[in-house]
């Protein structure tokens, strides 16, 4: 049974903007799938449809054989956004415990699980801190711990490391892979970064924009577990090139200004 099965999904927003058109995608259990594409290709929208946070205009999504809504009510999703979205009136520990509270876990089980999670994301000793006392990278680790705390079958991540510096990002990439291998979760990951997509994924889904479509599926056959050495593997560059070419074919990648050589002052 597929972890996620997306069938004929289209999404049109009010005002007639076509965000997604005829998306078909099967994601197997334990896969790590990245959605990559230019801004406006609807990759975040697709992620939200999978998570039943918004509804598709047509088509449907099943998660582990269940309709997305049922899966949401069964607490099958863990979600991580680009911003950590921590509740700053709660301590780190109580932020991680939030989904457990809502799922009705008792206090002892909660605190035991929170300790395990703090260990998992290497934040032991920070449970009683408040979010604003942590750095951005640490906050994002708390948000990952919160998403994983209840062992969701499916982890949905929307550019979770997009706001972090490159160094922190690479370190958290490695941590995420470790966490993924230690858990039973399937991950759907939205990113802007080719290197990140190739490094993390078992499969990269390249999307094109206006309207959002799947333009290419690229299996990533780099060996597991991956490490810093993976980033220097010639195969890594081949795959990154393949993704980049697929992106360009799919109607142009919105290059950030800095990457085009037109830095500030040149415009």
């Amino acid at each position: 049974m597929s972890a996620v099965s997306i069938k004929n999904v289209s999404k049109e927003f009010k005002g007639g903007t076509k965000a997604l058109e005829d998306i078909d995608l099967e994601i197997e259990q334990r896969e790590f799938v990245s959605l990559i594409g230019p801004s406006g290709c609807g990759k975040s929208t697709l992620l939200r449809i999978v998570g039943d946070l918004i509804e598709p205009t047509s088509g449907g999504v099943t998660v582990n054989g269940k309709p997305a809504r049922q899966a949401r009510h069964d607490h099958d999703y863990g979600i991580v956004f680009q911003d950590p979205v921590l509740y700053d009136w709660r301590t780190v520990a109580r932020n991680i415990a939030l989904p457990l509270e809502l799922a009705g876990w008792d206090r002892n089980r909660r605190s035991q699980r929170v300790d395990e999670m703090l260990d998992l994301v290497e934040l032991r000793g920070f449970g009683e801190h408040h979010p604003w006392q942590l750095s951005g990278g640490m906050q994002q680790r708390v948000s990952i711990a919160r998403a994983l705390s209840f062992d969701p079958a499916l982890l949905l991540m929307d550019e979770p490391f997009g706001a972090l510096d490159e160094m922190t990002r690479e370190r958290l990439n490695a941590e995420l892979l470790r966490i993924w291998q230690a858990s039973e979760s399937t991950i759907v990951f939205v990113t802007h970064s080719i290197a990140e997509a190739v490094f993390l994924s078992t499969r990269v889904v390249v999307m094109s924009s206006r309207p959002g479509r799947v333009s290419k599926l690229i299996p990533i056959d780099l060996s597991q577990p991956r490490s810093a050495a993976t980033r220097e593997d010639p195969r890594f560059f081949e795959l990154a090139t393949e993704v980049r070419e697929a992106l360009h074919m799919g109607g142009g990648y919105d290059m950030p200004l800095a990457a085009t050589g037109l830095s500030e002052g040149a415009t």
């Binding site: 939200r48 863990g78 979600i79 911003d83 979205v85 509740y87 604003w132 942590l134 750095s135």
Partner: protein, 292 residues
Amino acid sequence: MASVAVERPLAEDAPVKRARRRGLLLLAVLVLLWGFWEGFRALGIHYGWQRPFTVDATSMPHIHDMIWALFQRPNPEAPLLIVTLLKAAAFTGREAALGFAMGATGGFAIGALLAHSRMLQRGLLPYVVASQTIPILAIAPMVVIWLASVQVTPWVSVAVIAAYLTFFPVVIATIRGLQAADHRAVELMRSYAANRWTVLWKLRFPMALPFLFSALRISATASIVGAIIGEQPSSIAGGLGGAILNFAQYYSFQPQNLWATNIIAAALGIAFFLVVVAAEKLVVRRAPEHVA
């Protein structure tokens, strides 16, 4: 790796230092105001100023006379003025506290209801606003008459009048605060299949607290004003409202007594305000940028 951005705990004596600096500032401002009052008075009397008002010993008694008056007997049989005024303040304080509690609770309930539904908000908010444009002096006698007809004790009627002056800022702040939650924070709750009540209590309400406390600060002082004004149509003599009426009648003979009463009324307002601030410190655990 983990030690980067953790805030260093403040040095042991920092709070003491801060408190001392604050106290000094307060004192400096007090001295400044005192100097301004006495300076203005002296100049006004010397040059015979008629604008913005006639300055003389009656319109502007010495501040030390006001304070001195607190420790005098207004007439030979009466207790010290400060004793009378503190009793009056306790009486008015009780009315204001009940009024504040009713106004804050009612205001929150109305605000929560209006935040819940855009339609209700469009339909009812104009009337909530309109309620505040009717002068309290017009409402107060009606409240007193209505409640007296159902045997409500007069001081409780006064509390209801105070509540009327208190609830409005709380309504506005509640609506604003309950809708202040970031949409991703709401999505997160949605992903946990949380129902409306859970979202309200675990997300929207804590998010609204800083807004709510800003309103409560306003309401705390307004409740005193409401209680003082409410005492007049209820013909309650034992409160600050009664004292103000009484001393206003004798103003031309003993102006310092009315001023002394005002000082006590102001002190009561400040005390209420500080209670709210202290409660806020206890309750609101937010990032520094979210705390007023």
